[in-house]
């Protein structure tokens, strides 16, 4: 039979037209966000290892009418561009989204994409957070609360007892802390460690000390509170740069690029003896060093004693259709119980003073790290901390400008002075 004439051919034409039309309507129809069950569905989008599984389960148990869809969207660098596109397009973003500290500061300058949590009772949460953590979630005029703080990155120094023992150094955490009361002492101990030829470096990278060092040195880093770039005029940036370079010239670093495959492998191979570790980093170390590293790591106080590195927020995008419920979810996750559940799951440190004082945190120990009293060590590091102003572009200026240039020095591709000039020129270009 031929298709050239007759009803069959007409039918084919009609079918084609029908399929095309159907396809178009299907593409235009929208998915409904309340399921057949009549429950409200909340989408929460996170990056990294947020550790909120137990907290979400507890929230659902307390709110039987809400179903939470937790979407884990990879690392921050994968998640952030997607989120911007969703916010720009006006759809796609979840009801609650996780914002890294540096990212949040950028959004605070254009806060229109997010709901004002003060409208839902956010003002009453002031005492549920460390004051600077609460303040940072707010626009500079204090009229809009965008984010509720999840964790803070209290700082400590993680170290390998087996490598210190090999170099004839103390391994007990109180004794070890005496090796580095200051950053200069930390460097001197590194030189002594290197002389023992253990085959391992003193620390993973020159870039790892920068944030902790800079946070202690001043109340600002690359930007002044009016958001002017001060990278080349702020003496503490230069001090930090010189200090990191002194670790390189003394040969104390393993020259590993943070978050690279090499860096991950370095934990398993015992390639370095110490690294500054924010509370959330203990989870990363455990994951990278694996079972064979259990009991070989320990935690001591950080040189200088205080500091904060990283930490995130939960915000409710304006496009959410259930802002009230979304606020409730964010409030629960960042509240005392939610934060303690997260701490139990991945070791991220609470930003709620009530959770910090709770024995579940305060007296907690980390058995992977030789049963170290991590609750006490990390809590002590944030209690005396002065807040540091970062600025909307801090993360970009650090991660995409100064960090790669410092790595270039570490790789022997540029002198400290060349890299310093190049970094400042690039920073000016990006801000200007």
């Amino acid at each position: 039979m031929s298709l050239s004439t007759g009803p069959l051919r007409r039918a084919a034409v009609l079918a084609l037209a029908a399929v095309t039309a159907l396809g178009m309507t299907a593409a235009c129809s929208r998915k409904d966000d309340t399921g057949a069950t009549g429950k409200t569905k909340l989408v929460i989008q996170t990056f990294g290892k947020p550790g909120i599984d137990q907290a979400v389960a507890a929230f659902q148990a307390a709110h039987p009418n809400i179903v939470v869809d937790h979407q884990k969207l990879g690392e921050l660098r994968d998640f952030q561009p997607k989120l911007v596109q969703w916010l720009g397009a006006g759809k796609g973003a979840g009801d609650v989204v996780m914002l890294e500290e540096g990212v949040l500061l950028g959004y605070l300058q254009q806060p229109d994409n997010f709901a004002n949590l003060l409208d839902y009772g956010g003002a009453g949460l002031k005492d549920s957070f460390l004051s600077w953590k609460y303040q940072r979630g707010m626009t500079s005029d204090g009229k809009k609360l965008v984010g509720l703080g999840t964790d803070v990155g209290g700082l400590a120094m993680c170290y390998r007892t087996d490598l210190l023992a090999k170099a004839g150094m103390p391994t007990d955490r109180a004794e070890v802390a005496k090796l580095w009361p200051t950053w200069e002492a930390y460097r001197a101990s590194g030189v002594a460690f290197k002389a023992k030829n253990t085959g391992a470096a003193w620390t993973d990278s020159a870039t790892g000390v920068v944030q902790p060092y800079a946070m202690q040195a001043s109340d600002r880093i690359f930007f002044s509170p009016d958001n002017t770039l001060i990278a080349d005029s702020n003496p503490s940036v230069r001090h930090t740069w010189d200090y990191a370079n002194s670790l390189i010239s003394d040969g104390l670093t393993a020259k590993l690029t943070t978050w690279s495959k090499d860096w991950e492998a370095g934990f398993k191979k015992a390639a370095f003896a110490t690294m500054p570790c924010p509370a959330w980093m203990t989870g990363v170390i455990k994951a990278n060093a694996g079972d064979e590293g259990a009991g070989k790591w320990d935690v001591a106080t950080i040189p200088g004693g205080t500091g904060n590195w990283g930490g995130s927020y939960f915000a409710v995008p304006k496009q959410s259709k259930h802002p009230k419920e979304a606020y409730e979810l964010a409030k629960y996750l960042t509240g005392k119980d939610g934060q303690l559940a997260v701490y139990k799951e991945v070791g991220a440190m609470p930003s709620s003073p009530q959770a910090l004082e709770d024995p579940a945190f305060r007296d907690s120990r980390n058995d992977y790290f030789n049963n170290a009293p991590t609750g006490k060590i990390f809590a002590d590091s944030v209690r005396t901390m002065r807040p540091v102003f970062l600025g909307a572009k801090h993360q970009e200026i650090w991660e995409s400008v100064f960090m790669p240039q410092l790595q270039a020095v570490e790789q022997g591709k540029a002198s400290s002075e060349e890299a310093w000039k190049a970094a400042n020129a690039e920073a000016r270009k990006r801000v200007g």
Binding site: E75, P81, V84, Q110, K269, S400
Partner: protein, 297 residues
């Protein structure tokens, strides 16, 4: 009535039959292309608004050292990967063209790398080329060579990326060459053999000239792929869009992504770069075309 319908049918249906391609091309090909051109003439921030700025984005490009660096890297990596890839593919195809045991299995086998996910390839190879604990440096160490910091230098990072690209695409090209070789009449070879031409001579005087249209095809496809190189260098850089501490191996696609999605969400600037990349591919394809055609005369 019936008559009129049938006439409508004869005039209209041919267009309807070819319509799906044109509709899809217009929606997914032409429209994005023109829209990108439109965006590239604006200062267009995804979260902010947009204003018309004419050719400002394009003039800014000429002054952007990162753009030129990325262009140089892209072209360099393209040459470094494509030339050995096509030569190797020719050699493999020629070998597979002969009688051998388990011929079908081998022919299918060389396509396996191509159906592997690019992310898997990137992850495995970035482990092989890890600076401190990678297999490549371990093997070099056995041979007494100092370990290479693969991501630190241009030549080393480009080579590592070229190896990834070639691993994936050589087999695919070889299979295309093989298919083309099988259309060459056997009597040509028989005649040449009687005249006393060696296998080497037969390959260069018969096989290669008759494969010219196929070689042009593979060269253009490789150009398009090579100019858009993204996943392999990104994975070698552990996901960092800058591609090395001093952008040693950042490609144009990576730089477009960095500017449009990575940091300042400058869609206008990213679109301008996308258009320049489009023109680059066009020019490179035309050069390929001219070279191969001139050779054919």
């Amino acid at each position: 009535m019936r008559h009129r319908l049938s006439r409508l049918d004869t005039t209209l249906s041919p267009y309807l039959y070819v319509a799906p391609f044109f509709v899809l091309f217009a929606v997914f090909g032409l429209f994005p292309l023109l829209y990108t051109l439109w965006v590239s003439l604006h200062d267009w921030n995804l979260l902010g608004g947009h204003t018309f700025v004419g050719l400002d984005n394009y003039t800014a490009l000429l002054d952007d050292e990162h753009f030129w660096n990325a262009t140089g890297n892209t072209v360099g990596m393209f040459v470094l990967s494509t030339v050995p890839q096509l030569l190797l593919a020719l050699a493999i195809a020629n070998a597979l063209h002969k009688r051998m045991r388990a011929r079908t299995a081998v022919r299918l086998g060389i396509l396996l790398p191509n159906i592997t996910s690019v992310a898997a390839v990137g992850i495995v190879f970035s482990l092989l080329f890890a600076n401190n604990f990678g297999l490549a440096n371990w093997v070099l160490g056995l041979a007494g060579v100092d370990p290479v910091n693969w991501t630190a230098e241009k030549w080393s990072s480009w080579s590592a990326i070229a190896v990834m690209v070639d691993w994936r695409w050589t087999g695919w090209n070889a299979l295309i060459y093989l298919a083309a070789m099988q259309t060459i009449p056997a009597d040509l070879y028989e005649a040449a053999a009687i005249e006393g031409a060696s296998a080497w001579k037969q390959f260069w005087r018969i096989t290669v000239p008759l494969l010219r249209p196929t070689i042009l095809f593979t060269a253009i496809i490789a150009t398009i792929g090579g100019m858009q190189l993204f996943a392999e260098p990104l994975l070698l850089a552990s996901g960092r869009i800058e591609g090395g501490s001093l952008r040693q191996f950042q490609t144009l696609s990576m730089y477009i992504y960095e500017r449009a999605f990575g940091r300042d969400f400058d869609y206008g600037y990213g679109s301008a770069m996308a258009w320049v990349l489009f023109l680059l591919i066009l020019v490179a394809s035309l050069i390929n075309f001219a070279l191969v055609r001139r050779g054919a005369r």
